[in-house]
Symmetry: C2
Subunit: 474 residues, 2 copies
Amino acid sequence: MTTLPTPDIAAAKAALAHLDIEENENAIKRASRDFFWYSPVLKTRMDHLLADFVVRPKSEAEVIEVLKTCYAYDVPVTTRGAGTGNYGQAMPMRGGCVMHLVHMNKVISCAPGRVIVEPGCVLKDLDAHCIGACGYESRMMPSTWATATVGGFVAGGSGGVGSVTWGQLRDLGNIIRLRVVTMEEEPRILEFRGEELARVSHGYGTNGIITELELPLAPAYDWVHCFITTKDFGAAMACAEDLANEDGILLKLASVFEAPTAKAYFKRMEAYVEEDDHMVGLMVAPHAMDALITYLGRRDDLSLIYRSDDNDWPRSPGVAFEYGWNHTTLRALKVNPEITYLQVRYGFPDHKELIEKIRAAFGDELIQHLEAIRMNGKVAFAGLTMVKFTTEERLDEIIRIHEEAGALIFNPHRYTLEEGGRQHSDERQLSFKKEADPKGLLNPGKMISFETPDFDFKDIYAYPGMTPLPTEDA
Amino acid sequence: MTTLPTPDIAAAKAALAHLDIEENENAIKRASRDFFWYSPVLKTRMDHLLADFVVRPKSEAEVIEVLKTCYAYDVPVTTRGAGTGNYGQAMPMRGGCVMHLVHMNKVISCAPGRVIVEPGCVLKDLDAHCIGACGYESRMMPSTWATATVGGFVAGGSGGVGSVTWGQLRDLGNIIRLRVVTMEEEPRILEFRGEELARVSHGYGTNGIITELELPLAPAYDWVHCFITTKDFGAAMACAEDLANEDGILLKLASVFEAPTAKAYFKRMEAYVEEDDHMVGLMVAPHAMDALITYLGRRDDLSLIYRSDDNDWPRSPGVAFEYGWNHTTLRALKVNPEITYLQVRYGFPDHKELIEKIRAAFGDELIQHLEAIRMNGKVAFAGLTMVKFTTEERLDEIIRIHEEAGALIFNPHRYTLEEGGRQHSDERQLSFKKEADPKGLLNPGKMISFETPDFDFKDIYAYPGMTPLPTEDA
C-alpha cells in the first residue's frame, strides 16, 4: 500500500478559509454520506466515516485551489455531488476534505443533440434547461434524477433510465468530452475525448476531478408512464423485451418487477394489484402509444392498469422511473429494512433462461427486478435483484451461485472500483491515477490496484488506511 | 379471375373534365411509367403499358369524385406519386385512369415526433417543412427522397434510409394513422390505426387510396456523410454492423459496397479508390463523429476516405444515401445497362456467414451491396445485390440458390404484391380489397389472390387482363 503522509487539516482549512467551507457538524456529517446504507455489508463498515471539513468550490479555479492546497498539506479529497450513489463511492475513507460540487451547476451551452455542463448540475435541472432551450434531454439518468448530479452520474454510474435505448455510459458516443483537473503540486487541466474518456469516467473521482462535461442529448418527449400486470413472470419479461426490440416504439424505461413487489412495496399500486401480480413499468413516447396498445391487443396475458395520459386513478403513482432502477430497492427498504439487493447482468441471448434458472434456484429469498437494456446493440436484462438479507456469508454465496450460473455480478456490497466492477484492475484508470494523483490523495481506498496491487480478491477488500471503526467504549 | 367490365373511358373523362386532366400524349406516357425498367424481366412485359388518361386531384373530395366516376364507368384506377418505385407498382396494367397525387402535397401539421401530411408531398419537401417547424424529419426514406412522395413510399416501400435505426415501415409504431378512400358506388372515408394499418400500407393502392398520413418523425441532424474503404469484404460488413450495434452512435445509413462497385460505378469516388476497395457509406449524427473516429482508431483495416464535414475533395460526392439503397443499382445501370439486382434479407444471427457463402458461390456474376437494417431489434443486412443479367432462367436460378441457402428474396422482377413479397396472399389486404374495391378496378393485376386465387407460384404471374403486348407488326 502507498503510505499516505499525515495530513495537516488545520493548515489546509485555514488556507481555504475564503472559500465556502461548511462548519456545521451535522452538515459535515450529511456531506460525508452517500447511499452506502443500501448494503448491510457497507453499512457496518462505513457508517462512522466523517470528513474533517467540507468545501464547496464555485469555479474550476476554486477546484484547482482546493486540490493544490490539499496536495500541499497532504489532505485526502473525496469529491461528491448529491451523494445518491450506493457503492460508497463518495464516502471519505480516511476523513480529510469532502469537495462538494453543488455550486458548479451551470449549463454552459446546449444545442439539439449535445450539451456542455458543469458537474454539479442536478439532472432534473439539466433536463429542464435543455428541454426549454432546444427540446432535448439527457440520454440516460439514474432513478434519482430529481436530486442526482450529472458529474456524479458520470463519475459513479454506468447507465440507467434510457439504457433501454442508448446502452451504457461507457459505450462509444455516450460521453463526448470530459474536462479534468489533476491533483499535483501544480494541478493540470486536461481535455479527454474518445479512448481517453475511460481514464476518468466511472472513476469515483480517484484520479482527477471532472470540471466540465460534454454529453450527447436525446430528443425530449412527454413520456407516457405505463404499468402493466400479468400473472406470468415469463410474460412480464417477454413484454419488456419485445417492446424494447420493437424498433418503431420509443422507450425510455422497461422495468420488470416480480410478484409481490408491486403489492408489497409500491404503496400507490396496492389497490390496483394482487399479491401474485408481476408488473412491467414503461416510459413510452406519446406517438408510440398506439403501437403499444396494438402490441397489447395481441397479448391476452398482459393488462395495462395505468397510463399517465389517460386514467381514472384519484392519486397519481408518479413517474415510472421512480419505481425502477435503484428506486425499486429504495421502496422495498422503506417497507422492509431487511432487504438489500444485487446488481446483475444477464447477457444476450440466454438472458431469460438464465433468469428463470436463478429464480427457480432461490425461491422467495430473492425477488427479481429486471431492467431491459441494450448491450452491444442487443436487448437483454440488468438485474437489480432484491435479496432478503441474512448474513454476509449467505450474500456471498448467493453471488457465487449467480456467477457460477453465468450471470455477471457488479457487487454493490463493495466500495472499490474493482470489486464493484469486473474484479480486475483497469490499467487505463490506474496509470492515469499514478500520473494525476501522485500522492494518492484522491478518494483514497477506492482503487485496489493503486493501494494493494497484489490483492487476491478472495475476500472483501479492507482498505488499510481507512479511519478505524470506533471501539465499543468510544 | 374476376371479370372486369368494359370501361367507358370517354364518359369518365368527360365527367371529370373540370378537374386537372393531362391531355399531352408524352406526359400521359411519362405518368404511365415508374422505375420498372430496373428489371429486364419487367421491361419486356410492361414497357408498352399506357393510361387512357391522367387526372391530378387537388383534394380528397376530388379523389372521391375520381373514384366514384371511374367506378360508375368501370374504369381502372392506378394511383401514383413520383413513380420511383421499381416493382412496377404504379404501372397501369390495363390502361384506364392514372390518378397522380402531385397536387395533394400539403403538410397539415407537425410537432416534435409526428406529422400529418397529404400523400403527394415529396419527402424532401416534407423534411424541409418539419425541420423548419420543429427540428424533426422522416424516420425512413427511400434513396429517391429528393423526388419520391410520402404516400408512394408508404403504399409501395418497405423501409430504406433510416431502417438501420427504426426498422421497417411495417413495424409497430412506424405508421400512426392512414386515412383511406374506397372505390365503391359511394366511396367511404376510413381511418386506420394499429392492426388495421396492414390492410392498406404496402398495398400498391390496390384496395383503397391514402389521402392523409400520420407518421412518427425522428430528430433531424446535420448528418455527416462518410465513406470508408477496406481491402477485406468481411471488414466492411463488420464495420457497418458494429457501428449499427453501437447504441450510443446515431446512424441513418450504413451501406456496404463490394469491390469494384466504388471504382466502377461511383464516378466521383473513382480518383480516391482502387479496383479492389470495398466501401462502407455512412450517415452519422455530428455529435457521434468523435465516437466513429474512436471506433476507426481500433481498426487498422478501415480507412476513412471522406467525411462531409471535413475534407479536401474539390468536388463533393454528394449525400451518402444517394449511393445506397436503390441508388446503387441506378448508378451501376448508368455505367453498365446489363446490370440488374435482387432484394434479399439475411436474417440475424447467421447473416454474415450466409452472405459469405453466397458470395463464394457466384464469383463476379453478383456484386454484393448490403444495407444494415434493424429487424425485430437486431441488426442484420438487407441485400440489394447487383446481378450481371444474362437470361430470365438464370435469374430465376440465382434466386433459387439464394432461397435454398436460407436467404429471403423479395423478387423485384415481379409486379404482384405476392411475388414481390413473401409469396403468399395477405388475407388482411385481400379481404379489405373485396370490401373496398368490389369491381376490382384499383390497380388491377397486382394482387394475385384477388385475380387468380388458385395461382401456384411456379412461374411468373401473367395478369390475364393486362393490355396485350403490341404485335411485331404494330
